[in-house]
């Protein structure tokens, strides 16, 4: 990202002025002049399953932070300072969201929001809500709810030690911490492993969910209440476990 000397001087003058005045119009002007840098960095992260326009949004956020935090007194070139900030933002985006396939941002947002909506409605109604009820509460269309349900499958596999999904109404904590320690169900789970050694390869909480859903016949809402996580999270973990089981079954035994 080479700039003409005059551009560089102009940029530096604006940054210095912004550092003193905090003028929002000026800040926007600086951001606009550096769009190329944000886009350039965003494109380095394409082909990872995220739409480029979303990546550019994230990069812009990084750029904005860089403008806010830049200290002209330190004598660094702005681009030298901004690049790691923007790249950091992009990396964090992938780490936090963990979306493996292209899911539009609005669908992701709805998916995450639906966790709360479904939980609240389930409590109010004393039963699992219908899709139109969810749509009405979330103020979106039925189709959007259905799409958001599908989006749960797009979640990238993550370690059980990774932070739990942010759809839960609680501070993010490692998923492992949410496992009931002395849950007797786990013993039964282990016995059931005889049926499918593959299940044993899943994280403990997912083994538990598989067990409760498929072997004990509990509903997703019941499992959510029991494990203290949102129903959307149960849904997502179930989808993920099943995909993992398939992948492993496929790897271990050639299909008939």
């Amino acid at each position: 990202m080479a700039f003409e000397a005059t551009d560089r001087h102009e940029l530096r003058a604006k940054l210095e002025e912004y550092a003193q005045t905090g003028d929002k119009g000026l800040r926007d002007e600086i951001v606009a002049s550096q769009l190329g840098l944000a886009e350039y960095l965003a494109r380095r992260f394409k082909n990872r399953g995220e739409p480029i326009e979303d990546l550019i949004q994230v990069a812009l956020l990084g750029l904005l932070k860089a403008v806010e935090r830049f200290d002209p007194g330190r004598g660094l070139e702005f681009s030298t300072f901004a690049t790691p900030t923007i790249v950091g933002e992009l990396k964090r985006h992938f780490r936090d969201k963990g979306w493996a396939v292209r899911v539009p941002r609005r669908v992701q947002e709805l998916h995450l929001r639906m966790g709360t909506v479904v939980n609240n409605l389930s409590q109010e109604l004393g039963r699992s809500p219908t899709i139109p009820e969810i749509a009405q509460r979330a103020e979106v269309s039925v189709d959007e709810v259905l799409e958001a349900m599908e989006a749960g499958r797009a979640y990238r596999f993550s370690s059980i030690d990774a932070p739990a999904g942010d759809d839960d109404d609680r501070a993010p904590s490692p998923a492992a911490a949410q496992l009931g320690e002395d849950d007797t169900g786990l013993e039964e789970v282990e016995q059931r492993m005889l049926l499918s050694p593959l299940i044993a390869s899943l994280p403990k909480r997912e083994q538990m969910i598989i067990h409760l859903r498929f072997f004990r016949g509990m509903t997703q809402s019941e499992i959510a209440a029991r494990l203290g996580i949102s129903q959307m999270h149960v849904s997502r973990l179930l989808a993920r476990s099943l995909t993992q089981l398939r992948d492993r079954a496929g790897a271990e035994a050639a299909p008939s």
Binding site: V142, L198, F214, Q231
Partner: protein, 142 residues
């Protein structure tokens, strides 16, 4: 169980009263999204709850995925297509379909069997006239 207002505008006439929905897609796992979405869409119209819709989606996916595994093994010049019929009853959905594969009905794995038992009321895979055919039915809670 359905709300007022909102779905009035989204509900074309005639679908609620048992009209069949037909879907034909290439017999490949990447098209299962459409298979699931169609199931979920129809189930939501019938007032299935979130839990029930989830169950149906997982079940149809589970069943089709395993059947598609067999399709991949048969190398023919023609890309195979999977055909499904979604039938809406007053409070149930029945999905029948063919993957385009022929021969004897494959044995489902124990786990797959267990999963389907937990999710839907009826499910079966059979070979009808040499065509592998599946069927599953999910009832709505009254």
């Amino acid at each position: 169980m359905v709300g007022e207002g909102r779905e009035q505008e989204e509900r074309p006439e005639g679908l609620d009263t048992g009209g069949d929905v037909r879907l034909t897609v290439p017999a490949a796992p990447e098209y299962l999204r459409l298979v699931r979405l169609t199931a979920a869409g129809l189930a939501s119209r019938l007032g299935f709850t979130f839990d029930e819709v989830e169950d149906l989606r997982i079940a149809v996916d589970e069943l089709c995925f395993h059947l598609l595994g067999d399709v991949d093994d048969e190398l023919t010049g023609e890309p195979r297509r999977m055909a499904l019929v979604y039938s809406a009853g007053p409070d149930s959905i029945t999905i029948t379909g063919r993957t385009g594969a022929t021969g004897d009905a494959p044995e489902p794995s124990d786990l797959s069997e267990q999963i389907l038992d937990a999710l839907v009321d009826e499910h079966e895979v059979s070979s009808i006239d040499g065509m592998i055919t599946f069927r599953l039915k999910k009832q709505r809670e009254p």
